[in-house]
């Protein structure tokens, strides 16, 4: 069943494509490296591609008028970056930044639109994914208001961990601070607390998660809510 290359099935949306679609898509997909910090698109620009991360994690940030930004969602191997394209927006009002380096596939914007307009199984899959993303965004909004930085940090680490192959994240505190929309010192303090509790080890930009259940206990409910909704809306296909 080598329809798409074995790498591409690491993205669950691609893996869930019916065979006919996989065959059509394979020659059109381009494998890309996604280095830490790379901006896939800026707020207000027209999208040239959509991205299907496999090992990379992309952060979607909402950019305000004064330039301040906060993360609204993360997308990894469960998703696609660039949904505004098929939801009808010519441009996007969020910024997409690689928050954990890795690989992914991309598809030209026009091809994606054509595929969506076929109104076949791809459309239904992508629409369901959109609903899952909406849940994540709503939960992030409420989390920003009601939960402590510690809890948010745990949520954020868990969301990232789910999208990684191992248990290690390469990440600067500055980047985390940008994602969570807080000052760097806040992140440092939060990370130290988690380290003292034996949940993570943090050294020179490498975060190693030591105790996942511990992080889950310490996180606010937002992580579980989002995870449950993704599992419900996008049940993972049998891995081949």
């Amino acid at each position: 069943m080598e329809i798409l290359s074995s790498d591409s099935v690491k993205n669950y949306l691609l893996a869930a494509l019916p065979i006919a679609e996989s065959q059509r898509w394979l020659p059109l997909m381009e494998s890309v490296d996604l280095p830490l910090g790379q901006v896939l698109y800026e707020s207000g620009t027209t999208l040239s591609h959509v991205y299907f991360p496999t090992t990379a994690i992309i952060s979607l940030l909402y950019v305000m008028e004064n330039g301040a930004s906060a993360e609204i969602a993360v997308v990894g191997n469960e998703g696609i970056v660039g949904i505004s394209l098929f939801m009808g927006g010519e441009s996007t009002s969020s910024r997409a930044v690689v928050q954990s380096a890795g690989k992914g596939f991309r598809l030209k914007a026009q091809l994606m639109k054509d595929e969506f307009n076929r109104a076949g199984p791809v459309l239904h899959l992508l629409l369901r994914y959109t609903q899952a993303l909406i849940t994540q965004m709503a939960q992030t909004a409420v989390c920003n208001r009601h939960h402590s930085l510690d809890q948010q940090l745990c949520r954020w680490l868990l969301l990232s961990l789910d999208r990684l192959e191992g248990n290690q994240l390469v990440m600067t505190q500055e980047l985390i601070a940008n994602m969570l929309g807080v000052r760097r010192e806040g992140v440092t303090e939060g990370a130290l607390k988690l380290q003292h509790a034996g949940l993570i080890r943090y050294a020179r930009g490498h975060i190693t998660v030591l105790d996942r259940p511990g992080l889950e206990r310490r996180s606010c409910e937002c992580y579980a809510v989002v995870k449950k909704e993704y599992e419900r809306l996008l049940p993972r296909t049998q891995e081949s």
């Binding site: 009808g88 959109t130 849940t135 709503a138 909004a141 929309g181």
Partner: protein
């Protein structure tokens, strides 16, 4: 089926009798108005008019959607729950929008709590009828996808607004959003309800409302808010208000 035909006739008669004011004036929901004529008439044929009551709960997280609503005079708050209790407003739906877009995404369970914040009229359609109309009408699909996207941008701006903005500009934004949907300068709202919508303590709301009142932008008396200066509120509101308006105008015109 008979009911659908009768309903279609009723709508046609209503449209015909309103030609002087333009056939759209009775529709009063912008999303429906934007549809091409055929799609619009077909949708209206399956709509039933309802009167929504203040604080009525229209959807609950995880519960399958029974009806979709297109508000005309009413408006609805979308609220995210924490531990099962609704705690914070993340979106608002009035005559510019629709409640139940998850059906357009092929999902039956509602993602958020929805409760009536401004009582009044709305069009309502049963979930089954709506889904079959959606399957037939690509115009409706296109229009709703764009609306879903606007709602996502509203959620995105809510996420950063809640993070960065102070209570006062957020209150000003909220009042403007409400005024747009209430289609009136005066509306009824208690401090408790406001606090819960904005996710802050009551004293915070009281203080912020007094600042706006002293500046002559609103009058607040016994739960009755009157907007005195819309322009002043626009200046006091955070940029999220204008950003939301722009996202809507860009996508749905």
């Amino acid at each position: 089926m008979c009911a659908a035909i009768r309903s279609a006739w009723r709508i046609k008669r209503m449209l015909a009798s309103h030609t002087l004011r333009g056939p759209l004036s009775i529709v009063q929901n912008h999303l429906i108005e934007l549809l091409p004529r055929t799609a619009r008439l077909r949708l209206l044929a399956i709509c039933e008019p309802v009167e929504l009551v203040m604080a009525e709960v229209l959807s609950e997280v995880g519960i399958p959607t029974r009806h979709v609503y297109f508000p005309t005079k009413s408006f609805i708050s979308l609220v995210t729950p924490i531990k099962g209790k609704p705690v914070l407003e993340v979106g608002m739906i009035g005559r510019e929008g629709m409640l139940g877009t998850q059906l357009a995404l092929g999902v039956r369970a509602a993602p958020l709590h929805a409760l009536v914040q401004g009582p009044g009229t709305a069009w309502r359609i049963g979930a089954v009828a709506f889904r079959s109309e959606l399957a037939r009408s690509s115009a409706l699909q296109r229009s709703l996808n764009r609306y879903v996207y606007v709602m996502m941008m509203q959620l995105a701006s809510a996420a950063s607004c809640l993070r960065f903005h102070q209570i006062e500009p957020r209150l000003a934004r909220w009042l403007l959003m409400t005024q747009d949907r209430a289609q009136s300068n005066t509306f009824h709202i208690t401090h408790e309800f406001l606090a819960y919508m904005l996710g802050v303590r009551r004293v915070g709301v009281t203080a912020a409302a007094s600042v706006l009142q002293r500046a002559g932008l609103i009058k607040y008396h016994r739960g009755e808010i009157e907007v005195l200066s819309r322009r002043g509120l626009e200046a006091a509101a955070c940029s999220c208000y204008a950003a939301d308006r722009k996202a809507y105008a860009d996508m749905l015109h």
